[in-house]
Symmetry: C2
Subunit: 112 residues, 2 copies
């Protein structure tokens, strides 16, 4: 397993974390972790982020019940981004949709 | 389609873009776009990013031949992150691997 001390957090102390449904492959959310939320995520095996809007630790599901159980957590080649594969107890998005990327299309190929 | 003027770029003028293989669902890369690289991406239907290390526009595949053809591009609920589903001509990672997330495991559940 990778040495966590080699992870690159940005000047705000954050690292972006892509959350992906481990079963469907659907990308659910892009959120941010700081060192403490990453530590909590690894201890609890539940996603914990740093909320940039509320400026506080955010254990996903703590209020909604929609916890995300971590199946796998990896860093990318540059060690400045995380991929978190999860099994989720409910919708990932605060709007109630399965994924935060279910709205707002910008381009769709006709061939797809 | 979404109004691009409502997208939220950060104080560096960047928005993170998750690149996902449209066929396999595999997450390939987390990269960053500025307004110009997004415009080029939409015009060419090929991923174009802003390289933070080189501080220049980066048309993925221009040197390697490993272009990423955009199938779908969406923003998230907060409009501060992008998901780009692509068909790729070759490996996404500069290390030659399929995805930038093929190395650096931090946690793997035993049940998976």
């Amino acid at each position: 397993m990778m040495d966590l001390d080699t992870l690159k957090f940005d000047d705000r102390g954050l690292i972006p974390a892509i959350v992906q449904d481990a079963d469907t492959g659907k990308v659910l959310t892009l959120a941010y972790m700081n060192r403490e939320s990453l530590k909590i995520s690894l201890e609890k095996k539940l996603t914990c982020f740093w909320s940039r809007s509320r400026q506080e630790l955010w254990l996903k599901g703590e209020t909604s019940g929609n916890y995300q159980h971590i199946v796998e957590l990896r860093a990318d080649c540059d060690k400045d981004a995380l991929l978190v594969r999860v099994r989720k107890d409910g919708p990932a998005c605060h709007l109630g949709t399965d994924s935060c990327f279910d709205g707002n299309p910008i381009y769709e190929s006709e061939e797809d």
